[in-house]
């Protein structure tokens, strides 16, 4: 049994269709702690000790957020800056996160084929997430391939329902240790590893294959 902590960062959840649905799933799931950062710290005044205590109590840390300008929303960056202290999260004395796992679950407006060398966004999402991957490495955490919901702007209600199903499936499998993290490491994204196609349109299939 893996204890899961979801660090959720969305500055305008009221405007998001996809995450509203995912959040409902996460909040109802046993064994998952859902930490809504923008709700907890609307003035960006992060309670560092509380956040560190939460991290210590969990094995798998999930960063869930929309991709804004190829990165995290501002508060999640603030959270990294303040919570991952030297001497606690990293450095010769900082071992608090060692051995834990880190997973990013994000939504992106663009379709999967737009995030390729030579395409519209020129880089893969995995490449855009390199700073967080390196952060996990520095803190001694195992970095899992990210789970990505592409084309969030064009999802139909059915698409969103399907995405929520995948989301539930991934979290439950990780919680119940039904997935071998070591085997996942070889994949670019969790979508590839699990053959998940939570994206709309015919182009999805081609990319994940």
């Amino acid at each position: 049994m893996t204890r899961i902590l979801i660090l959720f960062a969305h500055p305008a959840l009221e405007k998001s269709r996809v995450h509203r649905r995912l959040v409902r799933v996460a909040q109802e799931m046993p064994g998952v702690t859902f930490n809504d950062l923008y709700e907890a710290y609307p003035t960006f005044d992060i309670d560092v000790r509380r956040e560190q205590a939460l991290l210590a109590e969990h094995d798998l840390i999930v960063l869930q957020h929309p991709l804004y300008w190829y990165s995290t929303p501002a508060l999640l960056k603030q959270w990294q800056d303040l919570v991952l202290e030297h001497g606690w999260a990293y450095g010769s004395q900082g071992h608090a996160l060692r051995g834990k796992r880190l997973l990013i679950i994000l939504s992106a407006g663009g379709r999967a084929e737009a995030y390729q060398p030579g395409a519209f966004n020129r880089f893969t999402i995995r490449e855009f997430l390199a700073p967080i991957e390196q952060t996990a490495y520095l803190c001694g955490m195992a970095y899992l391939p990210p789970l990505i919901f592409h084309g969030a702007h064009r999802m139909t209600l059915d698409d969103i329902g399907q995405a929520a199903g995948h989301y539930r499936h991934v979290l439950e499998a990780l919680r119940d240790d039904a997935l071998d993290p070591a085997a996942l490491g070889a994949w670019q994204t969790l979508n590839d590893a699990l053959n998940i196609m939570p994206m709309i349109g015919k182009s999805t299939q081609a990319v994940t294959q």
Partner: protein, 635 residues
């Protein structure tokens, strides 16, 4: 009698009101103005004074007593302790060396040694009144030279006491029959304790000093608090005067100098929260009495005597001044003062002081010497005092610019007391929160408040809180408004706030003002008055309540927070815009109607104006539409 008194007062005040501004305009300083005015109205000028000249002088000496009280208030005990070296060393040596040299010269000039010694002691003294006033006017009191001057003067004040005790022992060389003591100074001769044996006298002196220290520590605060609670300003002034006069009387009764006693009381009260209020209450009386004193000195210069022996008097004046100057300069160098500060000391103190008048009279009465010795010397003393302001001007204009070291500036931070960068006027709920935040972040604040109970309570927590009406210029000066950077206005009423804004703008234009406003109307008035930093006291609180209301209704915390921030910005803009548009309407509308008009105005703007829900950067709608078009094209 009363008509005579009124006429005398009229003459003195007229002389002062005419002469002092002229002297000040010419850059001569107020002391010289008073002295010249005294000469003009004196027996050798217009002869406008009656026979009361001598009495006036004694009366006016009380100004010196008050001045010492004020000096004491500025000196905290810790600082006095730090000055012990200069007081005992520099002051002691100055008195001993000057006495010895002056007495030797007098002896060589043919006086018996007893008379020579008495004269030497008298000439060693300098004028506290003239020197401190002149230094204060020039802002030199806190420089190294100013502090040295003060230390020497303080020691001289103490030295008067043993001098009065020694004089009777020096009698016996005067051949003439005992005169009828021509109404001279009863000052030191008849006191309550003079009949007692020496040990009892000493005991009485110690008891009096202890009474001042203990009374000042434990008794005066509750008394002042009770008086302040009546909120009758004149009663506070009366209490302050009563304190000074009472101590002066007590000191005289045990044979100590009244100035010394009030100085001590001042030092004891220097740490009290009523210090600024006491300063500003006593200040005008001190100023008037000192002015009167200088007038009396000017009027007492005996020109007949001077004209009878001009060369002798002139020679004596030059001799005394040069002698004292040389000794002061030498001692200052021994005590390692910088050149310009040593010269400041030497140019400030070479005159003979007001105690000389007392001591010469006492000496004649005790038959230490007779009038033939005393009278020319009294004229010398008066002239030397009149010369002091001229010497100071000479030093300022001619000598100082040629001496390189400018020690004044470097010495400043170390001087009298530490000034805080922030003054908070009003320390109720609003002001105290500001003060606590600043203090918690290591910023020193000086607090002015006129609620006596609150002041007392806050003092117990170690805050630097002073009692007084903050809109008064003198209290602001005392609180260090000239050195402060920020003035925070958190007063109870808009009227007093505006008063203080006007005072501060007029006298302390360098101060940045941050003002608490009560409502729209008040904010308009403050903005009109030129205060850029205006804070409506209920605005942020009500927005916080509104934010929580939105959250309880289901809004996301961050959305509610952003909405409140947007609203705050918009509302602040509105206040500023409407301030410009108010124009003359204020003149015609009653305040209440104005408020309603303002409210209508802003509600109207809310309805017709800007959309307060912004943050379009997170809005995907237009993106979605854009994508739809692209997809249609490519599909």
């Amino acid at each position: 009698m009363s008509g005579d008194f009124l006429f005398q007062a009229f003459v003195y005040l007229t002389a002062a009101v005419i002469a002092v501004p002229i002297a000040a305009r010419l850059g001569l300083g107020s002391v010289l103005g008073y002295l010249i005015a005294g000469v003009v109205i004196g027996p050798f000028g217009l002869g406008l004074l009656g026979e009361g000249g001598e009495d006036i002088m004694h009366f006016a000496e009380f100004g010196v007593v008050m001045m010492l009280f004020l000096v004491g208030l500025e000196l905290e005990p810790a600082l006095l302790w730090r000055l012990r070296g200069p007081i005992l060393g520099l002051g002691g040596l100055q008195v001993v060396v000057t006495t010895a040299v002056a007495a030797t010269v007098a002896y060589l000039l043919g006086l018996p040694w007893q008379q020579a010694l008495a004269v030497g002691m008298i000439l060693a003294l300098s004028s506290t009144a003239i020197v401190l006033q002149s230094l204060a006017e020039r802002g030199q009191l806190k420089s190294a030279g100013g502090q040295a001057s003060f230390a020497v003067l303080l020691f001289q004040d103490i030295a008067v006491i043993p001098m009065l005790a020694i004089f009777p022992l020096l009698a016996g060389t005067v051949a003439t029959a005992p005169g009828d003591a021509h109404g001279a100074d009863a000052h030191a001769a008849t006191t309550l304790v003079s009949g007692l044996p020496p040990w009892a006298q000493t005991l009485a002196v110690l008891a009096a000093v202890a009474a001042i220290i203990l009374g000042g520590r434990f008794l005066l605060r509750p008394v002042f608090r009770a008086i302040a609670a009546t909120r009758l300003r004149e009663l506070f002034v009366a209490t302050a005067l009563l304190l000074v006069i009472g101590i002066a009387l007590l000191m005289n009764q045990v044979g100590l100098s009244a100035a010394l006693g009030t100085f001590l009381a001042g030092v004891v009260l220097a740490n009290s929260e009523y210090r600024h209020e006491l300063e500003s209450d006593i200040e005008p009386f001190k100023g008037l009495l000192l002015g009167l004193f200088f007038l009396a000195v000017g009027a007492s210069i005996n020109f007949a005597l001077i004209l009878a022996q001009p060369l002798l008097i002139l020679g004596l004046v030059i001799g005394v001044v040069v002698l004292k100057f040389t000794i002061l300069l030498a001692l200052a160098k021994v005590f390692r003062l910088g050149t310009d500060q040593a010269l400041l000391l030497a140019f400030a103190l070479p005159q003979v002081g007001e105690f000389a008048f007392v001591l010469f009279a006492f000496g004649v009465q005790e038959q230490v010497f007779d009038g033939s010795v005393a009278d020319p010397l009294v004229a010398v003393v008066a002239i030397s005092m009149a010369l002091t302001p001229l010497l100071m001007i000479f030093f300022e204009r001619v000598i100082r610019p040629r001496v390189g070291t400018k020690e004044t500036a470097a010495q400043e931070p170390d001087a009298i007391d530490e000034r805080n960068p922030v003054i908070i006027a009003g320390f109720g709920g609003f002001g105290s929160t500001v003060g606590r935040l600043l203090r918690a972040n290591g910023v020193g604040v000086t607090v002015l408040d006129n609620d006596a109970d609150r002041v007392d309570a806050l003092r117990r927590f170690g805050l630097q809180v002073y009692y007084g009406d903050a809109s008064r210029y003198d209290l602001l000066i005392a609180a260090g408004a000239q050195e402060a950077k920020l003035l925070v206005l958190a007063l109870d009423t808009p009227e007093r706030t505006l008063d203080l804004v006007h005072t501060a703008h007029k006298h302390f234009p360098h101060l940045q003002i941050l003002a608490r406003a009560f409502d729209w109307q008040d904010a308009h008035d403050l903005l009109d008055a030129g205060v850029p930093y205006v804070y409506r006291e209920t605005l942020d609180t009500s927005l916080r309540l509104g934010t929580d209301a939105l959250r309880l209704l289901g809004f996301r915390a961050y959305q509610a927070q952003r909405a409140a921030q947007t609203f705050l910005r918009y509302d602040e803009e509105s206040v500023r815009t409407l301030t410009g548009q108010r124009g003359d309407r204020t003149v015609y509308l009653l305040a209440a109607r104005q408020r309603i008009a303002d409210l209508e105005h802003i509600l109207q703007a809310d309805l017709t104006g800007i959309d307060l829900a912004r943050d379009d950067g997170w809005d995907a709608e237009p993106l979605r539409a854009d994508f739809a078009r692209v997809v249609e094209k490519t599909d």
